[in-house]
Symmetry: C3
Subunit: 267 residues, 3 copies
Amino acid sequence: MKKVRLNVFSLLEKVRSRKPVIHHLTNWVTIYDCANVVKVFGASPVMAHAPEEAAQMSAISSALVLNIGTLTKDLVTAMMIAAKSANQKGIPVILDACGAGATALRTDSCLDLINNRRIDIIKGNASEIACLAGEKVMTKGVDSSEVGSDLKKIASKLALKRKCTVVITGKEDIVNNGHKSYIIRNGHPMMDKIVGTGCMAASVIGTFAAVEKDLSFAAASGLVCFEIAAELAVKKALGPGTFKEKIYDCIYNLDEKTLNGMQKVYQ
Amino acid sequence: MKKVRLNVFSLLEKVRSRKPVIHHLTNWVTIYDCANVVKVFGASPVMAHAPEEAAQMSAISSALVLNIGTLTKDLVTAMMIAAKSANQKGIPVILDACGAGATALRTDSCLDLINNRRIDIIKGNASEIACLAGEKVMTKGVDSSEVGSDLKKIASKLALKRKCTVVITGKEDIVNNGHKSYIIRNGHPMMDKIVGTGCMAASVIGTFAAVEKDLSFAAASGLVCFEIAAELAVKKALGPGTFKEKIYDCIYNLDEKTLNGMQKVYQ
Amino acid sequence: MKKVRLNVFSLLEKVRSRKPVIHHLTNWVTIYDCANVVKVFGASPVMAHAPEEAAQMSAISSALVLNIGTLTKDLVTAMMIAAKSANQKGIPVILDACGAGATALRTDSCLDLINNRRIDIIKGNASEIACLAGEKVMTKGVDSSEVGSDLKKIASKLALKRKCTVVITGKEDIVNNGHKSYIIRNGHPMMDKIVGTGCMAASVIGTFAAVEKDLSFAAASGLVCFEIAAELAVKKALGPGTFKEKIYDCIYNLDEKTLNGMQKVYQ
């Protein structure tokens, strides 16, 4: 692997100037944080889960983020409607496979979405992605488990099979579209000490995917920005509570020099 | 227009001493912030959206706030029930027309509520209010768009037609009941950098409407308090994350001198 | 009453090392805070309210927390399913009777749960517990009312009748299993100035109940930790907004010396 330099600031500037609308059907735990992280990056979040309006909202959006964190059958139905509309319009669809593998409903709902709609980016932690790739894992609630197999290979295989970009978040993040791969070594263990950073990462990826057709580059850039902000926030925090608030400050104040100097991306 | 001095502290004191119960049927994105802003102002928020209890909760409340930010058909049905009970009791009903104009479901649900229940205060940004007033606008998700027409006239026309108070939030806020009008020039652009300030404003208006029969005065006073707190919070913040937390501190610590000295209300 | 010293740190260490999964079916207002407080204590929150997965999620959890703060009939059905699974597995079930007495739906749903499932810990404020114990009270929304009767007797009577542990939160917290009783005098009035501390307390109790079979000891220890953190947070806060964030920092940084030195537990 060699270190590469991504021009992530160019994408951040596009987000800030175009202010794309990012539609979400997401969970009730972190819905505020998903909306707020999109807003603080400079884009415009919208959350509309009624089946009667999900398609119309997708049609005025630039990306669609689906997160199954507190799914119900009705919500999955609305996700299907929203994703169909997104597919017709040609905007990227991001699936956060939150808790896949923990229950049959979660695994089956993810597979239904992947099998019946075009999902452009599948994002999860190691155990969630391994589950969707058909690898055997033990999942403990919505938190990640160790996965024995080679994560990069799992990501690549799933990406090729589903013709999509796969993102595995963890100590190292893997972004893989089957043909090229980024490894991101930014971020901080404090991100695992609070609820919501995983969901927020998916919303950030959606935000960057709204302004860049190369979805691997978009996903990697979004993660780099988010995780550098987290590194900066930790330095100003006394614990997970202040960390949570400082991360928004740090995202808002991200600049080119910081992003170029702090990024740790490998290929 | 001439500058006027509102005795907003007299209403704030009533809120703090009477601790009115403010019932909400609201969205899942900002539901915590709506509840918390009411609480920090000294009142008592309650959120009950089950059709089986919505009427009973309205009947023990002093104001009802309806917000369609993540509406479903079922939620609108519950809003109808809650509003009917509120109308029977004679407590003020505030409608935050969050995203009206963005989808048919949002626009139609607002109109259903306005046509079939007594809505005492209709609140929205320029594009939302213009939509409900029958003016042509382009809405971009739930964030405001520019409206070509004269906003004050739109507010006045809608207020007269619906026999209610209309609040248009923006750089300048307009409060108009068809007969008198307040313009509020408090607040700070940072309020638009985070999710939730619009919804919180509606909850604050509801809180003040619970203690004052002159609903224009109540709405203007609530906005003045909230936006002065925001101005104070910006000074203590390093970005949108710390701003969000400081705004609660500043609301909690509002005093008469500050409210008299900083208010910018015109008539 | 005499002051006693609980080894609460031993339980905190178990939470941190075992990282138990705490399943919630809770309300949409404070769902984030319930999840985050569990996480910051070192455990692993999960929220799954779909009837199709509620049982399966209980089966991989170490405690189940039910909170009726924004209940619907469907949610209560899912609670019944989740609690049945929890009962079969033998993990503790905690019921936060949020707003019991305010509406018939809330009171009846609590009683349905208590009558038909094994509820190990019933938690509420004075008016909520009095309502479930069959005492006459006036409830003002979800906030507590004064209760004329002797609270300790009510707690004991309800605990004996329902063969469970009863927790009444307030200026003094009462933990009573019918045979032994703890009074906790930690905490700070600032906890009542924000939304969510009551719900978070129930989640904390669930977290400690997941690692300790003596549920009164577990509940008392959880409250002591949470409330000492609140006392520490107040000292670092300028108001309810910063208090809210600092409480997470203070929970995360709790150590043995602090817990031993600051606890105020009586028997």
